[in-house]
Subunit: 313 residues, 2 copies
Amino acid sequence: MRITVLAGGVGAARFLQGLRTAYPEAQITVIGNTADDIWLHGLKVCPDLDTVMYTLGGGIDAGRGWGRDDETYSILEELRAYDVPPLWFTLGDRDVATHLVRTQLLNAGFGLDQVTAALCKRWQPGVTLLPMSNDRVETHVVVDTPEGRSAIHFQQWWVQYRAELPALDFRFVGMEQAQPGPGVVEAIGDADVVVLPPSNPVVSIGPILSVQGIRDAVASGPAPVVGVSGIVGGRPVKGMADKCLAAIGVQADSAAVSAHYGARQLGGLLDGWVYESGDPAPDAALASLATSTLMHDAHSTAELARETIGLVT
Amino acid sequence: MRITVLAGGVGAARFLQGLRTAYPEAQITVIGNTADDIWLHGLKVCPDLDTVMYTLGGGIDAGRGWGRDDETYSILEELRAYDVPPLWFTLGDRDVATHLVRTQLLNAGFGLDQVTAALCKRWQPGVTLLPMSNDRVETHVVVDTPEGRSAIHFQQWWVQYRAELPALDFRFVGMEQAQPGPGVVEAIGDADVVVLPPSNPVVSIGPILSVQGIRDAVASGPAPVVGVSGIVGGRPVKGMADKCLAAIGVQADSAAVSAHYGARQLGGLLDGWVYESGDPAPDAALASLATSTLMHDAHSTAELARETIGLVT
């Protein structure tokens, strides 16, 4: 079976662990969000790609769900001593090594897809990890500050301001010029099933679907499309998706999120929707499953993956 | 008093500590060798400038004499895991932060002199540290390997091969185009005394004197020039200067090194020469002092600096 997953960071990575366990024979292709990538201190940082790669490769800090295990922070201490901003991004030393290798390969002329494949040679994530695009796209957040209205990088909004500055809008800078990465459209067209895992619908799945040609490939492709709600009881399981949904006028509620993606029969994307028992049901035009969506442990995560794929295949 | 010192790494940094102690009121300008600079993993590394800056700024690993104190090596471990060469250069995490800041500023268009001044704002070395040149110059070493004759970067010869591959020649790649860094020629012309400290005459002081205009500025300047032998009892106190001297046909002997620089009266550079008691005396055309040149501790180092300056002023 060929399974293609559109992925953000922590939630997707967790779901992918379950998927790999539940379907050890499947060919899993992950289309990773790169719109929260950022250049920091001259280094290209790809938080979502790395979270997937480290999680599936056994290098993640399991407690936080992001960053490297056994991490040290000498560089950050030094940048602070040099007083070289930005200092709000937690840049671990081991993580910096990944960014150094990536930046050097990018500067040598390789595409981000090739660079990601090179990094994955070490990590062996057991999936094919494809950046949504090789082109630079960066999510900026429109906010009001005491100094007036401005657009700041998503990472600054997310990490420095902890999404507490109300987001007035999200702008995917560079999106108009961005082309899907090599293999991305094909991975959707050739899939037996396409999954929207419990990632942030606005700033993770949103940018992937905004790359020219990707939404169409999903909507018009032969594979059934199934989504998993990351909203439980009206709140995101992890992260700050509620703050992002508010900015685009969508309620933080699993039915509202499924309506945001839309039922394929009604011109949207979804054939199926998996959501937490007790939460509001999605549109009847969708196959749906109310179940336990919390990924407590390896067993429950694999079970969720099995139920998700099973709903539409 | 204005003292200008042409400096390599460890030996010069040590001597400069003594000089600063002995002459707390002096304006000390250091012209640092940049010919052993190297680009590693996309980062600009300046070993000699950093050794001087860390030593005088209190951040050196005192045991080794180079690199940062309280250092960690997470990045190097990761580069090894990624199998990204070169892996023979000991790149500490704290040190990498310096290189990141430097590289970012260079890429933003600042000259190496400006970048060095910016780094020194943190370290406050108590001297003005000037790169010999803002232009890229790299020492390469001609060696015979089983695969044939080739030229390798000085750092590779020094660190990976520990200078054990016989050096057939040294080539300062880029030297013909290199201009003295801003303030360098002026610092020599305005000095009350110019010092050649116990640095490697071939690959540290050699490149500095090879930059267009610098040797002339020293030879024809108004300031007396005094050198300190780094060779004691026919062997370098630290480092592998003997291997370097052999390559250019100079004996590893303090008199031979003084003759290599030459007495100013005989068309060379030196007015004075300080060497270890018991070692062969230099040419009689030079003022000279046989003394204890070993820099055991702060006291003996300051005493050596005082004797050195005192010989020619």
